[in-house]
């Protein structure tokens, strides 16, 4: 092999470059970290994305609003309901219509269930990243219960396309309330087990405490939102800043820590699961009656530009619709949380060990299709 100038330069400093990804067990998808190592120590990381770029924004320009909703599931596939809700809210606000309280309640419950399911999968995968393989199965076992609730009402387990501009595709199943209740009692028993297995573990704490420190300034500057940002004390919960759907009606805490390390990003998500359970608990018994779909002649937002922020399981999702008054958007832009969360990795993981890089990228909870769209 011919040695390039760069190789020689690296050799002199006893550094070398490895590619973590596009196929690597801990990047959770087709993401590539071009990582420069000196022994075990990470010198710098250059993230390369675009391996799963499908041009959702471009495709959406030729689809009507109800049609383009089903593409948003495929961005952050772990919070599909919340992505759908973002588009639905943006279109409804643009048209100046209000959905019924029943729809608002159901949307919020589905979104919170989705958030729990997403955090469960993250917990499972995070344990795997650190080498505790059993967490994966416990997390997925409990996530299955939520997916059953989704499947019974919406017909799909992962990519539901259930929330649509103007309301919901269908009414929820009669069993919805009962099953959700059952899940709340079930999962309140299982969550302490998660802590017992992983959070309290001395190896886990050693691996995560003080690792990957992200300062508040960095979090704001890079736009790191969601649980990752809140671990650094960034009050970025859109559910609190700009409440939408049924969030103004419920009481919950915005979970923040100021320490900003991997362990506290972990804790934010663990406590958020409790908070989400509380939100569902407040809403599930009080779902009012009402129509599930607005009687709209055509879903055509007026000419203008509209923006909607929602809080997905990973941070702030922005939907920016530029409408010319037609049935299709002139331009639709998704400000996805993972895109902003990804690029801080060089800042917080440099000068750590290679094992820490895996822990840190796990604690950012990256979903790659959401980065690439």
């Amino acid at each position: 092999m011919e040695e390039t100038l760069m190789d020689l330069d690296l050799k002199e400093r006893e550094e070398y470059v490895i590619n973590m990804g596009p196929q690597h067990p801990s990047t959770h998808g087709v993401l590539r970290f071009e990582t420069c190592l000196q022994g075990e120590k990470v010198k710098w990381i250059r993230p390369h994305c675009g391996y799963i770029h499908r041009g959702i924004e471009k495709m959406s320009e030729s689809l009507t609003y109800p049609q383009l909703v089903h593409l948003t599931d495929r961005m952050d596939y772990l919070s599909a309901h919340i992505n759908n809700e973002a588009v639905a809210l943006c279109v409804e606000n643009a048209m100046g219509v209000q959905v019924s309280d029943r729809v608002k309640y159901i949307r919020t419950i589905l979104a919170e269930l989705n958030r729990i399911a997403s955090h469960q999968l993250w917990w499972s995968a995070f344990g795997m990243d650190l080498g505790a393989l059993t967490t994966f199965f416990y997390g997925l076992r409990d996530r299955e219960k939520i997916l059953d609730i989704f499947e019974e009402s919406t017909g799909s387990r992962l990519l539901q396309s259930f929330i649509t501009p103007g309301g919901l595709m269908a009414d929820v199943h009669p069993n919805f309330q009962k099953r959700t209740r059952e899940f709340i009692t079930y999962f309140r028993k299982k969550l302490p087990e998660y802590d017992q297995l992983l959070t309290g573990n001395v190896i886990f704490q050693e691996r995560t405490k003080g690792i990957g420190y992200m300062s508040l300034e960095d979090a704001i500057n890079y736009g790191v939102t969601g649980p990752s940002g809140r671990g650094s004390g960034f009050h970025c919960d859109i559910r609190k800043i700009a409440p939408y759907s049924a969030y103004p009606l419920v009481k919950f805490n915005e979970v923040t820590y100021t320490q900003g390390d991997t362990y506290h990003r972990y804790l934010v998500r663990m406590r958020e699961m409790w908070e989400s359970l509380d939100i569902i608990d407040q809403l599930i018994d009080n779902i009012p009656q009402g129509p599930i779909m607005l009687e709209l002649k055509a879903i055509k937002p007026p000419k203008g530009e509209f923006y909607q922020r929602v809080e997905t399981a990973r941070g702030e999702l922005g939907v920016y619709i530029v409408s010319d008054g037609g049935p299709t958007p002139a331009r639709i832009r998704y400000r996805t949380p993972n895109f902003s969360n990804l690029f801080i990795i060089n800042k917080i993981a440099a000068e750590h060990k290679i094992a820490d890089l895996v822990a840190i990228s796990g604690s950012l909870d990256l979903v790659i299709p959401d980065i690439d769209r």
Partner: protein
């Protein structure tokens, strides 16, 4: 800060700034040449303190390329939208704000990748999603390729 106060702040800074298209947030159309200066002022002014850029969008409109900056503050609840209209469609160029908000560096790379808007003084202006040898900028309205779904 209220909309009126924001308007006065910006009007005193850039007299030629115009109220924007959208009614949702207070929006101002800033001349491209003065964008960086305005952004810097809005970020550092303790009354506005717009330290969090949550969205940067490139648009292809009839009157040229737009670059839209959604700004908010972690201290105050106000949101400000800045808009730059680049009438020159062949060589759209605007100063980068990535030195003020690090998040902009990657949003700008995306806008460059998909719309071909060039950002001056950007530290690392490469394509972010598409291959380096990709021809054209897909989100432009005049972009044609063999895969575009005809309806």
């Amino acid at each position: 800060m209220q909309v009126e106060q924001l308007t006065t702040v910006i009007q005193t800074l850039v007299p030629e700034a115009q109220p924007g298209i959208s009614k949702q947030y207070p929006e101002f159309i800033i001349p491209a040449a003065r964008l960086h200066e305005v952004a810097k002022h809005l970020k550092e002014n303790p009354d506005t303190y717009l330290d969090y850029l949550f969205c940067l969008t490139g648009l292809d409109r009839k009157d040229g390329f737009h670059v839209v900056y959604h700004l908010t503050s972690t201290k105050f609840p106000h949101i400000v939208v800045l808009r730059v209209i680049l009438a020159d469609k062949t060589n759209p160029m605007v100063a980068t704000v990535s030195d003020l908000w690090k998040a902009a560096e990657y949003f700008e790379r995306e806008a460059f990748d998909l719309l071909g808007i060039k950002f001056e003084n950007h530290p690392d202006l490469r394509r972010i999603f598409l291959d380096d040898d990709w021809v054209g900028y897909p989100l432009r309205k005049d972009y044609k390729d063999s895969f575009t779904l005809e309806r």
